[in-house]
């Protein structure tokens, strides 16, 4: 129980840190937020050109309404204000470029990014665990050595290049799967088989290419499993006549996965990071593409909002992984995890 509370506290702390960082960045912009946003507002709102003619009071109010902060308040007051807005009211300001609330823009995209991220995570880890344990089981066989080479080679290929290759082979050469967008044109977003099939087909390649991030997990698992197979307790278990399935899961699986704690957490964060590039490669309109657009249009409130939401998904995914892990590892429950 204490473990779960600590983890929850950690998650909250991470979120607060992300907000503070994004806030500090906002302040650190060359010339401060007012100066940086001024040119954007002038450009996008069609205010009087020239900059000098702009009414400072009017500008101050605009910056305040977009960013939810009064640029003249002292630093800590602004920080408290914006934290209150974010955590209590869920308000991240207004997009300068689109003029819509940042929160609602993000919420439209959030499910799609979560969708490809979570599936990439589940498929990637399941496949790695399966392949890794099979390799360990057939250690030094042909299967093992061929796959070791293949996985090492794959380890040197960035996941977005995997994506490009998948687009070329699966999409362009054979035309098997769609290579852009999130559903086919003319498919209504409703609870129909057609909609889900189309969404799945569009997400398949992005999911596969992000899952490629996790290929080295299989190699690590193989190494751990080989070591476990050589342990004395395995021989004892065999002598005790424990059946194979139980040995594979309770003994080998357990002890091979446990030392990978940090790696798995980093992998989870890496996957949601990876969606940023992969969504761009596949023109998949999720949060990554939103972040990309925000960079292109210098839309600072949207930029900060996307970063905070990316942290939120990652923190949630890590929390879930963490809690699952807590069930696996008795040491963690006892508050002693040095994996």
């Amino acid at each position: 129980m204490r473990y779960f509370l600590t983890r929850l506290g950690q998650a909250v702390l991470t979120m607060v840190t992300a907000v503070v960082i994004s806030f500090a960045l906002f302040q650190a912009m060359p010339g401060g937020p007012v100066e940086a946003m001024r040119s954007q507002i002038i450009q996008n709102r069609g205010l009087e050109a020239g900059g000098t003619n702009v009414n400072m009071e009017q500008l101050r109010r605009l910056v305040e309404s977009y960013s939810n902060m009064n640029p003249e308040d002292p630093f800590h007051v602004q920080l408290l204000d914006s934290s209150k807005n974010i955590f209590v009211e869920g308000d991240l300001g207004t997009s300068i470029y689109r003029g819509e609330p940042v929160t609602s823009l993000i919420l439209q995209r959030l499910p799609w990014t979560t969708f490809i991220g979570v599936y990439a995570m589940v498929i990637g880890y399941l496949a790695s665990f399966l392949i890794g344990s099979m390799m360990a089981y057939k250690e030094k066989s042909r299967f093992d050595s061929v796959l070791s080479v293949v996985l090492t080679a794959l380890n040197s290929v960035p996941y977005y290049i995997v994506g490009v290759v998948l687009i070329f082979v699966v999409g362009v050469k054979f035309g098997l799967l769609p290579i852009g967008g999130r559903v086919g044109s003319g498919v209504d977003p409703a609870f129909t088989v057609e909609f889900f099939a189309s969404a799945a087909a569009h997400a398949a390649l992005p999911i596969l290419s992000i899952a490629a991030l996790l290929t080295n997990t299989a190699l690590t698992l193989r190494e751990n499993a080989v070591r476990v197979l050589g342990e004395d307790f395995m021989r004892v278990a065999k002598l005790r006549g424990i059946n194979d399935a139980r040995m594979a899961t309770r003994y080998v699986g357990h002890n091979a996965i446990l030392p990978m704690y940090t790696k798995i957490m980093i992998g989870v964060a890496g996957i949601f990071s990876g969606t940023v590039i992969v969504e761009q490669v596949f023109s998949y309109p999720g949060m990554g593409l939103l972040l990309f657009d925000a960079v292109k249009t210098r839309d600072y409130p949207l930029l900060m909002g996307t970063m905070i939401f990316f942290t939120a998904i990652t923190v949630t995914a890590i929390l879930v992984a963490d809690i699952t892990y807590g069930f696996l590892d008795p040491r963690i429950g006892a508050g002693d995890a040095d994996g």
């Binding site: 060359p30 080679a153 977005y160 940090t262």
Partner: protein
């Protein structure tokens, strides 16, 4: 003779280190010979026995040459210097072909290499320094408030997704200098290594030889330095190759999607231009995308092989077998 030597060594060692005085003039030349053998000749000898280390370091050295010597041999690519979209391996002037703007692709790859190394260097040094300091400090101070504090910071940084953060940082600061880009990417790459180093410190602390150093009454400083920190070096080196690979992946990726300001040639930028020009769908442009892709894969393949090779390079038993100054009997 070797046995006698090391026994002598050990007797003196306790006194020497107790006074924290490392002045051992009489065996200076012997020590020098030994350390050259262990740090230079043995690694080279092992290098030639491990194909991964050999191939990996050859690839890395190849890229270093490309970025230094190569750069001075090849003329700087400019648009319109050659016919557009020359296919690869057709013309001796443009071995890898040219792009849509008539720039030689091989020359672009060469001119992008030095910046790549600058990024990797800056990011790698930063990541490894932060990781080593955090990992060692919290490993030594296990269970203390300091340890908890450092590990909380580490966990927080792990959970904040790196690329979105780096993109926001890049959007705010517009880094043009490759060292700055490297540092931004390095900021995101240290926490995993810090945790790994910490658990390495913890497991070394439990080793029998650390225990015996304690029983021998060696000072804490000696134990930390001689028994623990030195053992961490190889581990850190192996991981630094992987950190370099991650920094390359991320920086090329960010240049590829076009969120970093472009100041000169870059592999990711070449990919970006080719991708934007629909090179995937047009066979005559295909090489434009393929050349930078193969370059990146080759470079990271070199780093992966290098780190795997280093793994066996620092394997203690293997080292002993290939060195001249360590006796067959493993008495250390």
């Amino acid at each position: 003779m070797q046995m006698a030597d090391s026994e002598l060594d050990r007797d003196e060692l306790a006194e020497l280190f107790d006074e924290a005085d490392e002045d051992a003039t009489e065996s200076r030349s012997e020590e020098l010979r030994r350390s050259i053998d262990l740090t230079v000749r043995t690694p080279i000898r092992i290098l030639f026995h491990d194909w991964r280390a050999l191939l990996g370091s050859s690839i890395i050295v190849g890229f270093v040459l490309l970025g230094t010597v190569g750069k001075s041999l090849v003329e700087e690519p400019t648009s319109g210097q050659a016919p557009i979209l020359v296919p690869p391996f057709q013309s001796t002037d443009h071995i890898l072909g040219t792009d849509l703007y008539g720039q030689d692709l091989a020359a672009q790859i060469v001119y992008a290499t030095p910046d790549m190394f600058k990024m990797v260097f800056a990011g790698g040094v930063l990541a490894i320094t932060l990781a080593a300091v955090a990992g060692v400090v919290s490993g030594f101070a296990r269970g203390s408030t300091l340890d908890k504090l450092v590990m909380t910071v580490v966990d927080i940084i792990i959970a904040i997704p790196g690329l979105p953060l780096v993109i926001v940082l890049a959007a705010v600061f517009q880094p043009k200098n490759p060292y700055v880009v490297g540092i931004l990417l390095g900021l995101d790459n240290w926490p995993g290594l810090a945790r790994a180093i910490r658990s390495q410190v913890l497991s070394i602390r439990e080793e029998a030889y650390v225990e015996s150093s304690k029983v021998m009454g060696l000072s804490k400083r000696t134990i930390y330095w001689r028994d623990i920190l030195r053992q961490l070096m190889p581990y850190t080196l192996i991981n630094s190759a992987m950190a370099a690979r991650r920094i390359i992946f991320e920086s090329v990726g960010l240049y590829f999607i076009g969120v970093l300001p472009v100041q000169s040639f870059n592999w990711g930028v070449i990919m970006n231009l080719a991708y934007q020009a629909n090179a995937l769908y047009q066979p005559r442009k295909f090489h434009w995308l393929l050349v930078p892709m193969v370059t990146i894969i080759l470079f990271s393949f070199g780093l992966v092989l290098f780190s795997q090779g280093m793994d066996s390079l620092f394997n203690v038993r293997l080292r002993a077998r290939y060195s001249e100054t360590i006796a067959e009997v493993d008495d250390e």
